[in-house]
Symmetry: C2
């Protein structure tokens, strides 16, 4: 490789290392930090953001990019990723980047308190400040174009709001039809029993290992909103427990393990480079969702889990594997996106996508946000939001400035649908493994066809290479119709 | 204040915030980090050290220092501290600073493994690399002068090896005489009982609160080698448990609480500035030692602790407060510095001080270090080291490059002796409080006379202002003679 290329990669590798440090500071804030440290933490996060921003717009990068020669495909991909980040970052003033880091750190804590106290008004001034700063950032990047596209591009490169809207538009009628049909049927059986927190965490750990999470390069802690963080050799997940709903713990864990395994299984040669992380939030979510849903909530795997739960908790009020499968996949009225079933989950995402597009365009003000949320929720889900923590205050994302992030959840489901169809073709007898709690061949296929590539290919290209076809919503919708049609007899 | 002064302080405040982040990375490595992350962590620490070093030698600092006008004593102290750090840092090449951070991170892990496996040889190459880098750093700072003075100056500003040697020389005969007299007497009573780890941690937490530690701005975790880290609003401590020796846990906790309270009680106006941390390791250690020993191991406080231990653990094999006091202060043969009694502790420090001076000067090679340690230990303590983890591998410091740090432990004891004498004069009836487990007036006196000043005064000046006299070893030695004379009847 050329000297310019090597100098550039050395510089970028150090920046990636610093980015990992900043990310771990976020992990610490959610899991370990004492409450009284928040003001100091905001200064620390602001200082780290300033350092990272200065490095990302360092004028030497432009010089190196001009001179660097890519001698293979990997080098070409590195240069493409570096160039893309450099172009974006160079358009955002350092003071704005620092202000965003500081305000989101504060707004996040304000959100947590407002949510605990069911006090929307307490959160709105912080949200307004974050929104204004993020809009300023998007305008700096996009110029006169739709600022929402600039936001989306940060999480799902090359995606556009128009493209996403079209896909969501095609999904919605079939999802609503399936939801209406299922809701007309008798309710699924429900768990009854005693589910001590320590036992939930122990089985949660067993599930993490069963799905291939490497605890030698990770750890599991508790957080209000489960998340995965870090890359390479230090990828940590969090989960949560609910005394009457152990599935909340187990499927949060499996979901985050999907994210974590993506990061852990990327080619070691890409460590601390722009190719060393997941290529987009959508592809990331495809891994968490296929682990959680297509594998973790399958008839075969739940058959194994049924036995492990009875070993762990004794009588759980469910008589058979079939009933347990229906229980795990029960479609019920609920307020919370992260607890939603596969049928209704994407409707939660569509709601947020439309509201945040309206916030960003200015068609909706933060003062009207709660009413807009509640109206839309009642229209889409058929019943009313009963409290802010079940509605507009339920998600952490907007407090952290993550506008443009929500749609990637539904894109992830679409990609997971595509990958699942291809996986079943590649491993036709997979259910025999899953029925033993063995995900080895499934996760190996995902590792080899998706995860190991990291940022080597563009998001849609990753899916196309793994599946042999451009991503589309069809396989996901077909899978949902078949699965829930069978469970509910519709 | 002038613009130059304000610009300088803004810049320095951001640097301090980054320094807090780097420090918390060290905390994470000892308490939370998965083992497999160590190589990546070394890159992260190296990158943070590089950023910090670049900021500490930023040429703008020189310009600001020239133009800045101090309009009060606090500003003058800020400028003095900034100038001192700038002069030191500017002499150390960035690559050397990065190499030190990377090698010490690796050497630290090598040390932990070597200690676990009792394998000195496995540690020596790493130690040799760290020593060579630290000597290179000291020579860059000190030029032709004694490199050890440059190392010492990093932890105890304005102290010199010659000054420290003279003080240690005056202490040694009296300490040896007291130790010989005490060892000729019957052994102190020992604990017998059942000391579950969870109960140790619970009482440890109670002790932390009793000594004024603010858990709203801190937390307690476990680590192999207890430490305190952080400043201002996020000051964390670690402790450890030993199933047969709960005092190890309790007095480690009280010790670290002394450090932590110093950081927590500094004037809030100095937050994230050079005055916002403890002024020196010696003064820091004076706080941890006076909390641990002069207060925590006093006859009055141990009378209260005796009751709390019997409440917690039931029968502990001790019949009276007097016997418990003797038990807490038992002088026994032992290998481990951190577990040593007040009589012998400083002899451990003198051993390390002399060995590390010889390593730095080149009079001793790392290959001969173990033999030199064992010879010196046998001569000073009267029995032989039985394994490396009881000898040359017992302390973390050298693996982290902390040459010049050990003597500050004994300086801390000397300062604690001075402060304790002054405190007793100021609060003559203090024992009545301590006998109720109430340290409030003692810790308030230390807060007001020492802790709140942070880096405002030079180390020896802090002690002189609090006590009305220049620090000397006399009060400590008088206190030890009186206390252990009474316990052992010598």
């Amino acid at each position: 490789m050329t000297t310019a290329y090597n100098d550039l990669l050395d510089f970028v590798r150090e920046t990636e290392a610093l980015s990992q440090v900043a990310g771990r500071l976020g992990w610490d804030q959610e899991t370990m930090m004492p409450d009284g440290a928040i003001d100091q933490r905001a200064e620390e996060q602001g200082a780290m953001a300033g350092v990272l921003h200065a490095r990302r717009i360092d004028p030497r990068i432009g010089g190196w990019l001009e001179q660097a020669v890519a001698e293979d495909d990997v080098a070409a991909a590195q240069l493409r990723q570096i160039g893309r980040s450099f172009d974006r970052a160079a358009r955002v003033p350092a003071q704005l980047a620092t202000a965003i880091a500081r305000e989101t750190s504060r707004a996040h804590r304000t959100w947590a308190q407002a949510r605990a106290e069911e006090d929307v008004a307490a959160f709105l001034p912080a949200l307004a400040r974050v929104l204004a700063l993020k809009r300023e950032e998007a305008q700096a990047i996009a110029g006169d174009a739709d600022p929402y596209d600039a936001m989306l591009d940060d999480y799902e490169p090359d995606a556009t709001a128009a493209q996403v809207s079209a896909m969501f538009g095609a999904m919605r009628p079939r999802l609503v039809a399936l939801r209406d049909a299922v809701r007309a049927r008798p309710a699924a059986p429900v768990l009854k029993g005693d589910f001590p927190e320590a036992a939930q965490m122990a089985l949660s750990r067993e599930l993490a290992l069963a799905f291939g999470y490497d605890l030698g390069r990770g750890r599991i802690d508790k957080a209000v909103h489960p998340f995965s963080s870090g890359s390479g050799l230090d990828v940590r997940i969090t989960t949560r427990t609910n005394p009457v709903d152990p599935f909340n713990c187990f499927y949060s864990t499996i979901h985050e393990v999907g994210h974590a395994c993506y990061e852990q299984n990327i080619d070691r040669a890409y460590l601390l480079t722009p190719l060393g992380g997941g290529v987009s939030m959508g592809v990331h979510e495809s891994q968490s969702r296929i682990y959680e849903n297509q594998l973790g909530r399958s008839r075969a795997f739940t058959g194994w889990l049924f036995g492990r739960m009875r070993d762990t908790f004794g009588d759980i009020g469910i008589a058979s594997e079939e009933d347990f499968f229906a229980c795990v996949n029960g479609v019920t009225d609920g307020y919370i996106r992260t607890e939603a079933d596969e049928v209704q989950y994407n409707l939660h995402v569509l709601l947020r996508f439309d509201l945040e597009r309206a916030l960003v365009s200015g068609d909706l003000t933060v003062d009207d946000l709660e009413a807009a949320w509640n109206d839309r929720f009642a229209a889409d889900f058929g019943f009313a939001v009963d409290r802010p923590s079940h509605g507009v205050l339920q998600d952490v994302h907007w407090s952290e400035g993550l506008f443009g992030y929500f749609p990637t959840y539904a894109l992830g489901n679409v990609y997971a649908g595509c990958l699942h169809a291809a996986l079943r073709n590649a491993v036709p007898d997979l259910d025999a493994d899953l029925a033993r709690g063995d995900t080895g061949r499934a996760t190996a296929w995902l590792r080899d066809n998706v995860q190991r590539h990291g940022g080597l290919y563009q998001p849609r290209e990753v899916i196309a290479r793994a599946t042999g076809a451009a991503p589309s919503e069809g396989p996901l919708l077909d899978y949902l119709d078949a699965k829930f049609g069978a469970i509910y007899g519709v």
